[in-house]
């Protein structure tokens, strides 16, 4: 048994202009999950503590919250893995969401990201054409099963730094869900889906890997890489900056063994996009003033062959 002190964010959007905190202590086994500790606190001490939960077995996605500053499922987090020496555990609502009541947030923006995907199968043929199931190989299904483990808990969305600065970014969970349809051999809208996810700022993902903290091992970050690859492979919206940036970085590193920054800027913005280039000019001038302007041309490093060998052995042919 341990005396756990839950340090809880308290807020009621109907009456409070600012949140406050309450510390509620409960005696529970230290291996108990944070969720069950909250449940005990609510049952035994303060009935007004509010949070979402349903399955208590990491499958419904309800109980995502910040635990000591890191988002995760409260029902998958034992107290003894997060409490400090005094038994204190801080619990807060997920970031990147508007708080509603205590640990409960407004989820609508998160669901809207899914709706934009048209998240349902759109096969080319009709049901009536098939008396039985459509045949799909175990391998093709397996790809989808891993993503299907997503419980839509929004942990990844709450952790994503890009969402926090630009809420129009689709976010990791929705991109992973888009992948589920893009890679489904039964679906006929691959191109439209790729275009849609590109419009929803696919390329804003900074590959910071914060979302790899997914409690269900969906690894949305890796699915984002897959979707970007598919975008380039299918040559969808190739005139956007995102894919151009990826390709030019790839090209200069392969050619020179280094990042040829001037070329990357030109390649990303567009060599003949004078207006776009003018926009980045002030940045260039400021860099020049500090003596940090990259050289216009980069000479290949001495052992560039070795770099190219690495590229050749890793490279998924893209263009």
């Amino acid at each position: 048994m341990a005396n756990i002190k839950l340090d809880i964010f308290r807020f009621d959007e109907a009456v409070d202009s600012v949140p406050h905190r309450d510390i509620v202590a409960v005696d529970v086994p230290e291996t108990m999950t944070v969720l069950d500790a909250l449940e005990t606190a609510k049952a035994e001490v303060d009935g007004s503590i509010s949070f979402r939960r349903s399955c208590r077995s990491a499958i419904c996605g309800s109980c995502s919250m910040n635990i000591n500053g890191v988002t995760g499922l409260a029902c998958k987090t034992p107290c003894n893995t997060v409490m400090d020496e005094q038994g204190v555990i801080q619990v807060d609502p997920m970031p990147n969401f508007q708080p509603m009541r205590d640990l409960v947030v407004h989820m609508d923006p998160f669901w809207d990201k899914y709706t934009r995907l048209k998240p349902y199968l759109q096969p080319a043929d009709k049901d009536e054409d098939h008396q039985t199931e459509r045949r799909v190989s175990p391998e093709d299904m397996k790809k989808l099963v891993d993503v299907a483990n997503c419980v839509m808990c929004a942990t990844c969305y709450a952790l994503c730094p890009v969402v926090s600065v630009d809420p129009s970014f689709a976010g990791p969970a929705a991109i992973a869900y888009a992948y589920r349809f893009i890679e489904d051999v039964r679906d006929s809208k691959r191109e439209e889906r790729l275009a849609q996810i590109n419009e929803d700022y696919l390329w804003l993902c900074a590959h910071c890997y914060a979302c790899s903290y997914c409690p269900k091992h969906v690894d949305p970050n890796d699915r984002i890489v897959d979707v970007k690859r598919a975008t380039i492979k299918d040559r969808v919206m190739m005139n956007e900056r995102g894919p151009r940036h990826a390709l030019i970085v790839n090209k200069t590193v392969k050619q020179t063994g280094m990042l040829a920054e001037t070329e990357v800027i030109q390649g990303t913005v567009g060599r003949f996009n004078f207006r776009g280039l003018l926009k980045v000019a002030p940045l260039g001038l400021r860099m020049a003033a500090k003596g940090k302007l990259p050289p216009p041309f980069v000479k290949p490093i001495p052992k560039v062959d070795e770099v190219r060998t690495i590229f050749d052995s890793l490279e998924v042919p893209v263009s």
Binding site: A14, V15, A58, V145, A148
Partner: protein, 561 residues
């Protein structure tokens, strides 16, 4: 005031399947759900869903129906069972066509695994996340048809005017307002009632709401004494390790390391039906061959690869709760409350005795499971009867002009809540819930007898009284007041628990999940009848045995595995 043709209460598999069916038929349909649909407990279903596709071995819907009738210990209504098993392959194909991610055989057809009590491998699955993938597929169809979802609306009462269902009253959890939702047809799909017991595989939200709401509106509960205890739940938190584990070949061991199941079920061993396995485990434990009140589920011989490919979630759930890795260590397990075979009485179309009111899924009892449910048949029931009830409802509403808004039900619910909210002292719901849990777990468990059941009935009546007189809600907020919601849920659970205990006491025989040590035999002479429980305000329910079991093909015989 909100108006729709059809309103579905609940966004689990049964509710969403009903809503999609109604939408495909062009009805103006909406879902009222206390959680976002993808949060529903159906998502926790791991093992699979039955249909006689015959993809691995020759199989027919008739074989499936026979296994189900036998599994039900012959209490299931065979017309309903046949309807379900005939529909099953069509419904699986329907789901597959909408993108459901089923595991596949090498030739690309849907894979099937063996499950307890089944004569052929007929359980379709997706690794061990079957419920989740079907839940997602149906939610996708809601998105496709733009079905209106009243999310985080808690249904509190059913409206019946002039003997006809006219919709529901629901509490909007986001702003604390009660709203009248008028509908020509109402379909209850609110799921199970596991939380009447202390140890259950059910999540926090399985609280018998729909059952008690219908009960209070004058609709009888059927066969509530039949509660399924799942043989493999974790001691720590009741979390389920799916039957898929045994389907894939896991062993059950006692303290001597013996595979004891063959003593109880010489042919099927670990794959006997659930009531048989749970009783065997409990007997081993009672006779001193348990380990810390548990027996062991051993997966080690399946090997790392198979465990990781087919049972990854099970491994992780066990690891999280016990710290033991099933790959190299047996997992202590024991039977836990899992499923309510009984529920709102319906016919084979999901229709109740009140026109315009339907029920489908775990909340309902069209009596396909009888005295014991087979694994994989409950997901099937949600899909089949979700679709069937919506089909019937869509036909029914064609002849309904308009409905009379039940202002009096709204007023009644406002008063009920105001009473709890107005008090600042008394008894809180969690205390009464804990008392009820203890009564049920101690006295209405796997083995039952007169003395204990009588004491359960008496104690529950006392808890009912205390609740009605003393309960109050501590949280006074109008925003996401889960204290109020929990109180409401406890209110409903007590009603359902009373039906279970009273039904069990009155049924003087052992059948399926009901094992009476004082009446150890099945009594087909007297008890091939259903238990109907009717509400009596503030008293024990009135029991009525006017509904006989429907037999189409299979006369009761001795049930062995």
């Amino acid at each position: 005031m909100i108006n729709h043709d059809v309103v579905v209460i609940g966004g689990g598999l049964a509710g969403m399947r009903a809503a999609v069916e109604a939408a495909e038929r062009g009805a103006d349909v909406a879902i009222v759900s206390k959680m976002h649909p993808v949060r529903s407990h159906s998502g926790a279903a791991q093992g699979g869903i039955n249909a006689a596709l015959g993809n691995r071995e020759e199989d027919t819907p008739q074989n499936h129906a026979f296994d189900t009738a036998k599994g039900s210990d012959y209490l299931g209504d065979q017309d309903a069972i046949e309807a379900m098993c005939e529909d099953a392959p069509r419904q699986i194909i329907w789901l597959e066509h909408r993108g459901c991610i089923f595991s596949r055989l090498p030739d690309g057809r849907i894979a099937q695994r063996p499950f307890g009590g089944a004569g052929a491998p007929r359980t379709c699955y997706s690794a061990d996340v079957t419920g989740l993938v079907i839940l997602h597929t149906l939610w996708e169809q809601l998105e496709r048809f733009n079905v209106k979802v009243y999310e985080e609306y808690f249904c509190t009462a059913l409206c019946v005017e002039d003997g006809v269902g006219t919709g529901v009253v629901a509490y909007n959890m986001r702003n604390g307002e009660l709203e009248l939702i008028n509908a020509k047809a109402t379909i209850f799909a609110t799921g199970g009632a596991g939380r009447m017991y202390a140890k259950t595989t059910n999540g926090y939200a399985s609280t018998a709401d729909g059952q008690a709401i219908a009960f209070r509106a004058g609709i009888p509960m059927m066969d509530m004494e039949f509660v399924q205890f799942h043989p493999t739940s974790l001691k720590e938190n009741g979390v389920l390790l799916s039957e898929a584990a045994r389907g894939e070949g896991a062993y059950l061991l006692n303290s001597a390391g013996e595979r004891f199941m063959f003593k109880y079920a010489p042919n099927k061993g670990e794959l006997a039906s659930r009531d048989v396995v749970s009783r065997a485990e409990w007997t081993e434990i009672l006779e001193g061959r348990g380990i810390d009140g548990c027996v062991l589920l051993d997966l080690r011989h399946l090997g790392r690869e198979k465990i990781l490919e087919r049972l990854p979630q099970i491994r992780e759930l066990a690891l999280d709760a016990t710290g033991k890795d099933a790959i190299d260590s047996p997992i202590p397990i024991l039977p836990g409350m899992h499923y309510t075979m009984g529920g709102i009485e319906t016919d084979i179309w999901g229709a109740t005795r009140v026109p315009g009111v339907y029920a489908a899924g775990e909340v309902a009892s069209p009596s396909v499971h009888g005295a014991n449910r087979l694994g994989g048949n409950s997901l099937l029931e949600t899909i089949v009867f979700g679709a069937r009830s919506a089909k019937h409802a869509c036909d029914y509403i064609k002849n309904v002009g308009s409905v009379k808004p039940s202002e009096r039900t709204l007023k009644q619910e406002q008063d009920r809540i105001a009473n709890w909210m107005g008090k600042s002292s008394g008894t809180r719901a969690p205390q009464l819930r804990a008392a009820m849990n203890k009564v049920m777990s101690d006295n209405v468990f796997i083995f039952r007898n007169e003395e204990q059941l009588q004491s359960a009935v008496d104690q529950l009546l006392e808890i009912r009284k205390q609740f009605d007189e003393n309960v109050y809600v501590m949280d006074k907020s109008k925003t996401f007041n889960t204290d109020l919601v929990n109180t409401m849920e406890t209110d409903y659970l007590i009603d359902s628990a009373m039906c279970v205990a009273n039904g069990a006491l009155a049924r003087k025989e052992s059948r399926g999940a009901q094992a009476r040590t004082d009446y150890p035999e099945r009594d087909d002479e007297k008890w091939m009848i259903h238990t109907l429980a009717w509400r009596e305000q503030g008293k024990n329910p009135r029991l009525d045995y006017s509904r006989k079991v429907t037999i189409t093909k299979w006369q009761p015989t001795v049930r062995t595995y």
